[in-house]
Symmetry: C2
Subunit: 457 residues, 2 copies
Amino acid sequence: MATQQRIDLVLGSVRRLLRIGATANLLNLLQKQHPADLAQVFGELVDKEREAVFSLLAERNGRLAMEAASELGPEAGAALLATHPADEIARLAHEIPSDDAAALIDYLPEELSAEVLALMRPKESGVVENLLEYAERTAGRIMNPQVFGLSEDMTVGEAITELQTSRDVEMVFYLYVVDERRHLVGVVSLRRLLLVSPETPLKRIMTADMISARADMDQEEVAGLVASYNLLAIPVVDEENKLVGVITVDDVIDVIKDEATEDIYRLAGVSGDERAFTPAGESLRKRLPWLGVNLVTAFLAASVVALFEGTIERITALAVFMPVVAGMGGNAATQTLTVIVRGIALGELSWSNSRKALLKESIVGIGNGVVLGLVAAGVAWGMRGDPVLGLVLCAAMIINMFVAATAGTLVPLGLRAVNVDPALASSVFITTMTDVFGFLSFLGLATIFMRYLGQGG
Amino acid sequence: MATQQRIDLVLGSVRRLLRIGATANLLNLLQKQHPADLAQVFGELVDKEREAVFSLLAERNGRLAMEAASELGPEAGAALLATHPADEIARLAHEIPSDDAAALIDYLPEELSAEVLALMRPKESGVVENLLEYAERTAGRIMNPQVFGLSEDMTVGEAITELQTSRDVEMVFYLYVVDERRHLVGVVSLRRLLLVSPETPLKRIMTADMISARADMDQEEVAGLVASYNLLAIPVVDEENKLVGVITVDDVIDVIKDEATEDIYRLAGVSGDERAFTPAGESLRKRLPWLGVNLVTAFLAASVVALFEGTIERITALAVFMPVVAGMGGNAATQTLTVIVRGIALGELSWSNSRKALLKESIVGIGNGVVLGLVAAGVAWGMRGDPVLGLVLCAAMIINMFVAATAGTLVPLGLRAVNVDPALASSVFITTMTDVFGFLSFLGLATIFMRYLGQGG
């Protein structure tokens, strides 16, 4: 059955059982679900239902409740937890790996999170607090500190025994080998262990040349390493190359999704950490600066129009078609900009091969301008019975779409070359340019050919 | 050393060795690189250099050359291959797993790809052809058909022996168990094999309740399963539940990246399969329809302006501030739209919790409108010395940003409810609405309050 259908079914049952108060049946149903499915069900419930279901589950099956909260994402998960007293949160936090617990606790209200950390068993709390000490968005923040490090003096047989006795380690597929001071010295794959005799020393079969991440490395860079080298996990080391944790590929997938969201957001001038349910006040504060910058550029475009007020006064039809020139330039620029910014993000595009991209975009821009300009000219001629107005509109559109194409290519590449995020700053520049050049070419040409223009002449 | 720095170093050396014709040294350097790094180096070289380096490597180390071509992406990789004769491509294609070979061969010019398939050893060619028979963007297309299926009658000891003798299987971490007719009946993790005695039958330790993907399932759905259930690999079955392949998490990461690109592209009206170096003619053909739709809506906005030509004739200052109202509405709408569309894509938002999102966006829209409207009013007053013009501008901006917020929320949610991709269609609707309502409110209010407006009265 398709997942969404199954989730809708479960959702319906959960709501029904909750309404009639069939607690035992509800609990039974919940316990059969995968944490990821529960998280989706939680997402569809209204606040009150969600809290009731979570409380029920937290009481009877703390681990599943916490895994679901964790899958729901740290913000929403912490909001669910925050309705519970600190001692219960501390108890629940022990049920999941400490990196996941740290992510949730970090999003609790400050006082509550301090209380929870104080209540957790000293050792556990230490681990969580250590994780929270790493800067946000670094490898240290997302790693699992419970990493399996084997001594380089061990044999394969001893390593297997060690593995058999430590059941709590998250998804093991690589075994990291450390020296007596816990410096990372090698890696052995689980599969390799099966292929050699138990007496073989680990040192003999380990790979010493391996890829690791520093704890202070940016999480995007870590994700890039895991993705390009097709790794299942990457060991995390401190500044002395001591093994301090491991990041598994499932955490990397979350980072890649976040990164994509950030790229999409930046093109639209939205802050990376905003979500659909960020409180209105916070969203307002975050979106205003971007709109403020755009207001300045809008007035810049307005000043260009003001230069030609005399022309508009004589031929008001120009005011009618102004939005067509600016709007089409803006749309064409957005297309170019998106392809170029994404090409940069995916590493396909850089200064060195930018000439080819510029040539291509210029051709596309002029081509689109000619086709759409001719259509627009025909429509304008039809609407106003003035062929010269149509020609001016057509010429202005070709010019503006060429400007859109070249600026849409060069601005992000230029920003990248001076180390400014092209997704963030490009669209302001581009919108300004297509507005300014659109009005300048349209109203400028109209002024030059004023005496040929219909009623205005 | 940071990866980019290392790649720049390698790149410099490659260029230098190529220039002085030091083939042996160049080959030596290339062979020390990881395929992913080579792909990055290839990406930075100009076409001629890239072909020379690839040819050299293909001759001496076909596997590494093909792995690098594969990492470069199917389009760019196939372009490199296409400069070689068919028999050499066929020889090279054997060097990598058949799913990767299929992806490259699929992008070769049609005649060449048919020739290559005919030249490959009958069995291998069959596998590649079979993969190409699955529809694009399905599980069947991206799976590896060389999947490890163990009989349910085997013991753990026999399974380990089987594993030891088949060295060519891609990254194994789960072992799939099949019945005598190759129906998928269970899964055993590699780690579990280590924890039990060799005599244990697989049947006893396997998990029968597992997640699998149908070969005709959409690749995005497969990626969703792997990501939400934190899998390292997912078995692919045919319509009779027979095991036909496996998809590993590294392939899923590529799908997630492609999916994000598609989302970003759709918001900008760019076709999902366009890349920075898509030929100009193809790009033009793909972008025109979207711009055509936008041209229609631009003329709709123009018709609204035309309704008020009389007003503009009397007060030409209105033409100056028209772009400010429309532009700011468009920017605010883009912000809302992006947050809502991404919220839908990430599964955080649906009809059921849309009222909360609508309320929030309305508040943000009115808030932004008031703040920016007042600033704009002040500037306009200063520029033209007309306080009433400023007030009309302010009121129009508040109205338009409220329209932007509500339309930006309701249109994508509504499209989603009727199963239209919200990313694809929303921005046309929204731009039209903010243009139409912007001009309508600004010019309409100006017409109503005409006799209070400065010089025009």
